[in-house]
Symmetry: C2
Subunit: 141 residues, 2 copies
């Protein structure tokens, strides 16, 4: 059961989010619930990696939710405190062993190494770890 | 430009993939191109995290593509060696600063801590870092 290929699984921040969500309670549970504008600020070293992205594109933004509790294995679905406990892999809760967020957003504007996006639910200053182009063929059921 | 919240961004493998793809060339570029069956083997410690998932559900599987080249910033879209270089954030290439894969798969069967799935393109023995339920509301454009 031991996997020997798991060495060096350390993420490097490629940028960070600037958003109006400063503290717990500010941010919606899902990005789709907000029309607020956030920016993704890509670090100089990774600037060329956004070449090929354009205004109007939909992208998945993967962040590192550094305020999450990584010890949580079961949680309740939001909305009702009487919801039953279920595994975090069946929920989109930020609390999970590896708190990587996944949010589909629209690019409103790109200026230099800054992407202005709509639909991100990340706190201000959250590290960004990856961006992937959305594809109807592979990401939709 | 320095983000102070980026400490401890080390991923923990929560399981690993068993698949028929043993080496480069075996695996399709996208999971949607295969009907091969893979299994996701969840480690004992994280077993309760899959509680709430069922046969027939669609899930996003996030793996750590440990054979990827993390220094690649620009690459060519597959299919034609004359395709222009573009940033890896505009591609789904496994070579990227943080080689986290994102694949939508269908759960065919769950037995104990093993998920049998269709549509995964990961090599045999690839570390799994997260599973998220797919939601039409938040993941589709």
């Amino acid at each position: 059961m031991i996997n020997m290929n798991s060495n060096d699984m350390t993420l490097k921040p490629v940028g960070y989010v600037s958003s109006p969500f400063k503290k717990r309670g500010d941010a919606p549970s899902q990005g789709v619930q907000t029309n607020e504008i956030s920016t993704i600020n890509i670090y100089e070293e990774y600037k060329d990696a956004i070449d090929g992205l354009s205004k109007g594109d939909y992208i998945f933004v993967l962040c590192w939710f550094d305020k999450s509790d990584r010890t949580v294995i079961k949680a309740r679905r939001r909305g009702n405190p009487e919801n039953p406990l279920q595994g975090v892999f069946s929920l989109r809760s930020p609390n999970r062993p590896n708190p990587i967020s996944l949010t589909l957003v629209e690019i409103l504007e790109i200026e230099d190494s800054v992407l202005k996006v709509k639909g991100l639910e990340a706190f201000d200053n959250t590290p960004v770890v990856d961006i992937k182009p959305y594809s109807k063929t592979v990401d939709e059921k």
